[in-house]
Symmetry: C2
Subunit: 341 residues, 2 copies
């Protein structure tokens, strides 16, 4: 920049103004500066230097607690991120996915992120990344928990919603199964009896599980009867495969409450492949009311991950608007569940 200034015969400040406040400089001086910049191949102000001086980067960080590809593979994450992206676009701010690998160095990666704020996609209670986020001192927000060191949390009351949808899913059922997310970061695939479920480290998984269990035990049934099948990955294929196994095994399920529409849609495929009737032989519920839920007639919990993503983005940009409340959900009953009575 100094060279440009010299060549144009002006001071460095004038060059700076040409780029940052074009009105501040006379047309003639600006023309000379631009000519000199072109001649010397000066590409304009260096972004990092500008960020340092201005104390503003112009980008919002998102921490996924998973490898980056997850952002585009997991449909729920993608819906959430689309909401974040909407706000970023409106505010003219970039969106940076902070790289996470699962290694201890992740903490370091968060600390190095060049961003103006951080959004954390829901993670486990014991994820060290949460500390790193809090340590940055940047405006930050956690989606759907856990609560950690006073970081704000945006999300619905998963437990209440789970209990409500559970009551619908388990109507008339005798061998119910929950098709769920991983319990902890090990992400093991497993099938557990309801009284054998150990500590659940992911708050979303925990709350939904507890709510569904409450729905079952609230009807006077023993907790052990409600089984939990854990899908390591949230996609329809996983849901289909696991459901197929369950249907082929003893104690064929007659009600499946899934923690996502993707898992539920996979379950529906498996049920259809097994030649069983829905909801007659097997009732199925999902979670999210994604686009595919309605055509499939899937009973589900409607919440807007996109709206939640947008709300998180606003909070992390230091401009909290209307944040959807913890009660921003409802059960949408369609045709994959039984009517009471």
């Amino acid at each position: 920049m100094r060279d440009v200034a010299r060549t144009a015969g002006v001071s460095a400040m004038t060059v700076s103004y040409v780029y940052s406040q074009p009105g501040r400089v006379s047309d003639e001086a600006a023309a000379r500066v631009r000519a000199a910049a072109h001649e010397l191949g000066y590409p304009g102000p260096h972004p990092a230097a500008r960020s340092l001086r201005q104390g503003r980067v112009g980008t919002l960080g998102v921490v996924l607690g998973e490898r980056l590809g997850y952002a585009f593979d997991d449909p729920q994450a993608a819906r959430f991120l689309a909401g974040v992206a909407d706000v970023c676009a409106a505010e003219g701010v970039g969106l940076t996915l902070v790289p996470i690998t699962g290694a201890p160095s992740d903490v370091e990666r968060v600390a190095r992120a060049v961003v103006d704020g951080l959004v954390v996609w829901t993670t486990s209670d014991d994820d060290p990344v949460l500390d790193a986020v809090a340590d940055t001192g940047l405006p930050a927000v956690v989606h759907a928990g856990p609560h950690h060191r006073g970081l704000p949390v945006v999300g619905i009351d998963d437990r209440a919603a789970a209990e409500a949808v559970g009551r619908v899913a388990f109507t008339g059922a005798r061998r119910p199964v929950v098709l769920g997310f991983p319990l902890d970061r090990a992400r093991d695939r497993q099938l557990l009896d309801g009284d054998a479920v150990g500590p659940v480290r992911f708050p979303v998984t925990r709350h939904r599980w507890e709510g569904l269990r409450d729905a079952w035990t609230g009807a006077g049934r023993p907790a052990a009867e409600l089984r939990l099948a854990v899908c390591p990955v949230n996609d329809a294929d996983q849901g289909e495969a696991l459901t197929a196994e369950l249907l082929a095994g003893a104690d064929r399920p007659d009600a499946i409450a899934a923690m996502s529409d993707e898992l539920a849609l996979g379950a529906l495929r498996a049920v259809a492949d097994a030649g069983l009737a829905v909801p007659g032989a097997v009732a199925v519920t999902g979670w999210d009311d994604s686009d595919a839920a309605e055509p499939a007639g899937l009973t589900t919990v409607a919440q807007s991950l996109r709206a939640q993503g947008a709300a998180c983005a606003l909070v992390a940009l230091g401009r909290p608007g209307d944040v959807p409340g913890r009660d921003a959900w409802r059960v949408v009953e369609r045709t994959t569940t039984r009517r009471p009575g």
Copy 2:
């Protein structure tokens, strides 16, 4: 940082080393520094300052030429970005979506992006963002064109692939239609006769259109007979709606070559709804061989957007590895097209 150094009774450099090269400092000094940092609430080195000094940010920029949400809405973009994200994760680098709105200020946004390299998702020939990308002087790469000021381009030979799949799609057809992407950034929805197609500004659209047209005229048919239906948005609903209109109109199509699997799957739905047989009454082809193509029996062009995304990321990180060649595609014939003869 200076305050921390003073409090710990060491120099600023020692503090710096504690964070950047922990082995370089004695345990005792490091402990004092950490204590002082904790006491003063020093969050560790400032990322922007560090980036400025080191000349490295640790993040890769992606320019989409569309509003950010597009990244998560458009399935092709998402597949491509998943590939970019894979590489970023492996390299421990972040992924920044550069905000684009369609306004002239987009150029400015690219210039301000704090990144180490840039990947441009295919855009129109006249997109000013390309100039801005070249001006940054950062390592950059354009996916699938256009070629611009020597920026490297990664992608397949769309025209050759289109001609190949066109020959399959149009076998035995008399009223073929191309279900295509927008022609220019106006993104108008329209239905054109083959000889009335004006300049096509998106290279991908242009190449696929030209290839498909070649396939038709190469069979000795007049160009005007091949119609082009433009879908503003790449999703199944658009493909379905537009196909439904075509099927209801005069000159009911008997072959539909779509520029994406999403559009093709929508077209299949519309054909099924109209009670027509595939491929008997209507043949259909897609593009990409996405996950849904195989179960649907869709004939399509197989290419790996994910692999292309990964290759682009490596190039933009200044570490070009094996870039998939322009011939990294093939036609996968399934059951939605007719057999010749």
